[in-house]
């Protein structure tokens, strides 16, 4: 029986090829979907912040692009994924509200999340096959690692598969 596993904010989950992973209402966060093209196992990380080193209290490694992606990839490899066969798709990183100068770093968190995810994936030599990032709207995503389909839903927009 296949099931859709839900990933909460600042968390990641891996699943077998029969199942899917989903995260609801990504805003400035980024949904990093990674799969092994040979075995069909994969996972989805809901990244909230770009860098674990910017932070005072970083007990939750899944929250950050750098540590979250690293840990999820390690778990995939542990579950039998072939490191050289991993590919990624990313979605999210919106700027939900347009503010002027105030706290500009925090306002651009979506953009910074996307950049940090890309940098980490590059470092791990995982190619990004597709992305649906930026803009100013939230996204709900579902990822099927068996096929690599990454379905993106947004309010008032047609469903999209990348």
């Amino acid at each position: 029986m296949s099931e859709i596993i839900k990933v909460g904010m600042a968390d990641w989950k891996v699943c077998s090829k029969e199942d899917g992973v989903t995260t609801l209402g990504l805003g400035s966060c980024v949904g990093v979907a990674i799969r092994d093209t040979s075995s069909g196992i994969g996972g989805l990380a809901h990244v909230m912040l770009p860098d674990s080193k910017d932070t005072i209290n970083n007990t939750n490694r899944a929250k950050f692009a750098d540590t979250g992606i690293t840990d999820m990839v390690a778990e995939l490899v542990k579950k039998g994924a072939n490191m050289s066969k991993l590919v990624a798709k990313i979605a999210g990183g919106a700027q939900m509200f347009a503010f002027g100068s105030a706290k500009s770093d925090m306002v651009r968190v979506g953009e910074r999340n996307v950049a940090a995810c890309k940098a980490k994936l590059k470092e791990l030599k995982i190619p990004i096959l597709a992305e649906e990032t930026g803009e100013n709207y939230g996204r709900t995503v579902i990822f099927y690692p068996a096929t690599g389909e990454y379905i993106i839903k947004a309010v008032g927009k047609p469903e999209k598969t990348i």
Binding site: G8, M9, A10, D11, L24, G25, L26, G27, S28, C29, M48, L49, D54, T55, I56, N57, T59, N60, K63, A94, M96, F97, A98, F99, G100, A102, K103, M106, V109, N136, Y137, G138, R139, T140, V155
Partner: protein, 211 residues
């Protein structure tokens, strides 16, 4: 001022924070009632310390589509504030407001669209009621609180809440918020959420003489 963890803060000063929410939201609710010339009820505020994963459920599920008014707060108190309501409630509110101001009859809700005019009206509503909330807070604490102009978003609850969550994420793994639900005679359910950063919580409590 000693460093407090969010857990300590929530437990020890729960009632004070709740009362703060009560006063702020009470003022805001009055402003809202005057604006739409209608009775508006407010529930007892809740102070909650949540994990990020629990945030989505807070406003009726991550995928619930909400109108969110978000503004940042600066001055002695730093943080953000969000006022959310379901899209239908926002329509209802704007409808009432525009009908009252322009002296025209209210449109049936099915015929309404959320266009530029409605967004602008909704922002103004946000401005007035969040202003009322923060004014009350400023008066009782004697702290300077300067709100930014409000920004409006119509989107999934999870997506809207990710913005304040990211701000909190820098500080820890939880988000502390003062939440008040309000409703009027017909079909208007919304929330005020005040999210000061940790230092500001301590400043607020200190100003009230409880810390």
């Amino acid at each position: 001022m000693s460093e407090l963890s969010m857990e300590q803060l929530t437990h020890e000063y729960f009632d004070v924070l709740k009362e703060l929410g009560n006063i702020g939201a009470g003022n805001a609710t009055t402003a809202l009632a005057e604006l739409i010339n209608c009775k508006v009820d407010m529930m007892v505020p809740q102070v909650r310390l949540l994990e990020f994963s629990e945030l989505g459920d807070l406003l009726g599920g991550e995928e619930q589509v909400l109108v969110g008014i978000y503004l940042q707060v600066e001055g002695d108190v730093d943080g953000s504030m969000m006022f959310t309501l379901p899209q239908e409630s926002a329509m209802h509110l704007v409808n009432k407001l525009m009908a009252g101001m322009l002296g025209i009859p209210e449109k049936p809700i099915e015929e309404m669209e959320f266009g530029e005019m409605e967004v602008s009206a909704m922002k103004e509503v946000g401005n007035i009621i969040t202003g009322a909330y923060l004014n009350a807070l400023s008066t009782i604490t004697n702290l300077k609180i300067y709100p930014s102009p409000p920004q409006l978003g119509i989107d999934y609850a999870g997506a809207l809440l990710s913005v304040p969550a990211a701000e909190f994420g820098i500080l820890g793994d939880n988000i502390l918020l003062i939440q008040t639900k309000f409703s009027d005679d017909i079909d208007l359910d919304g929330y005020f959420i005040l999210i000061p950063d940790m230092d500001s919580y301590q400043k607020i409590l200190h100003a009230l003489g409880v810390m």
